[in-house]
């Protein structure tokens, strides 16, 4: 495995010690009880429907993944060459745990699964994503989403 701890020292340092943007105080919203929450997934794996345009370097936009879409047809066009893809090839849930989320809804751990999920491409500077992310919050509210699970890659 190319685990972070197995990378060559200088490359690991460059990844872990990269300069990060400042975000200020941590915001906090108290959600509904978990078993009443309608939950959406937001991935940064550069995932999209097969018919959607691929992500391009520096893209701050997102793709919509409708919950009824055939998740086995999702495609990953993240531009980074530096993470494992063999896990995703074998099982979409390795990086987009949609079946697990549905199971947790069936078990009553969460209230329900949202009608739409979303994917960004994580190699993008967060400042480029900011206006898009703030606008996405409105979309999530309109979709009656109570909480989101953010999944990196």
């Amino acid at each position: 495995m190319v685990h972070v701890r197995e990378m060559p020292d200088h490359l690991r340092d460059a990844l872990i010690n990269q300069e990060l943007p400042e975000y200020g105080d941590t915001p906090w919203v108290t959600p509904k009880p978990l078993n009443e929450c309608r939950v959406a997934l937001i991935s940064t794996a550069g995932l999209h429907r097969r018919e959607d345009p691929p992500f391009t370097p520096g893209a701050g936009d997102y793709r919509i993944i409708p919950d009824e879409y055939d998740m086995d047809a999702l495609i990953m066009s993240h531009v980074s060459t530096n993470f494992d893809r063999s896990g995703f090839y074998q099982d979409v849930n390795t990086s987009f745990p949609i079946d697990r989320l549905r199971e947790l809804a069936d078990e009553g751990v969460i209230g329900s699964v949202a009608g739409r999920h979303f994917s960004f491409m994580g190699a993008t500077p967060p400042t480029v994503m900011e206006p898009v992310a703030r606008d996405l919050a409105k979309v999530l509210k309109a979709d009656n989403v109570d909480a989101v699970a953010l999944v990196p890659v």
Binding site: M1, V2, H3, V4, L20, Y23, T26, P27, W28, V29, T30, L34, I42, T44, P54, T56, P57, D72, A73, I75, M76, S77, V79, T81, N82, F83, D84, R85, S86, G87, F88, Y89, Q90, D91, N93, T94, S95, P97, D99, R100, L101, E103, L104, V109, G122, M129, E130, A133, R134, A137, L140, K141, V145, A147, V148, A149, L150, V151, P152, V153
Partner: protein, 250 residues
């Protein structure tokens, strides 16, 4: 990832997240994060391990029930299979040694086409075992189209014409280079015995195939070109970190 959490939560949406690099979550301080000890690319740990994946996701979601934050908690269990000795993998196809002389466009194309022909049955086999799932298809081009374009880029460099209408050459190259790598990689994991790792597939693709040699050659050029598109891709978007020792510039 932590940045998205800040923005969404500030706008009133409660968030929880998985963190693959703990130090980033420590610094960014998103409202709720579960630090996991998994490989990059595998935030849920491992493929085809539904029980384990469910435990990761459930633990992450249960952070939403905390009274105050920021919450940064550790998921302590390693991914299933992560500690296993994994010397068992071998590509289903044995290639001849990759091309040594990368200077003739027709010969490069032919060598790539030969690799594609040898891999195609394994690609199809691999796809079938996953009920038709494949990550090939980003560029909309066939493997043979891609072979022809890569051979052109190696020789013609910035003068190569984009075969995808409306897409500049460097982006056409990026989408096609990724696509053909995924074709090779999916073929390479066709054999269900033995777990394969990103590094093993990488060592094979970049060390033992003409495709690897072609992409390294393009990267060596892209590092020195003044052509802006390819220049922007050169450092990180062509050759993975663990294979950069094969390039001139590292």
């Amino acid at each position: 990832m932590g940045g998205l959490a800040h923005y969404l939560e500030e706008e009133g949406i409660p968030t929880t997240q998985i963190a693959l690099i703990r130090k980033h979550a420590e610094e960014i301080k998103p409202p709720r994060a579960l630090a996991v000890p998994f490989e990059l690319g595998r935030p849920l740990g491992a493929p085809n391990e539904p029980e384990f994946q469910r435990r990761v996701l459930r633990t992450c979601l249960e952070l939403l029930a905390r009274d105050s934050g920021p919450v940064l908690e550790d998921f302590l269990d390693n991914a299933p299979g992560a500690d296993v000795d994994q010397d068992g993998w071998a590509c289903p196809v044995n290639f001849a040694a990759p091309m040594d002389d990368i200077s003739d466009q027709d010969l490069i194309r032919q060598s790539l086409e030969q690799e594609i022909a040898l891999l195609r049955p394994w690609y199809e086999e691999s796809k079938q075992t996953r009920k038709g799932r494949t990550n090939f298809g980003i560029s909309g081009q066939t493997p043979e189209d891609i072979a022809a374009y890569l051979a052109e880029v190696v020789i013609a460099r910035e003068d190569a014409k984009s075969p995808i209408a409306g897409t500049p050459p460097h982006l056409a190259f990026k989408h096609m280079a990724d696509d053909i790598r995924y074709f090779y990689m999916e073929a390479a994991i066709a054999r269900p015995d033995g777990q394969v790792t990103d590094l093993e597939i990488g060592n094979w693709l970049w060390g033992e195939t003409t495709l690897g040699k072609v992409l390294v050659t393009i990267r060596d050029w892209a590092m020195e070109t003044e052509e802006k598109g390819f220049k922007a891709l050169a450092i990180t978007a062509i050759v993975p970190t663990h294979q950069r020792h094969r390039t001139i510039h590292g």
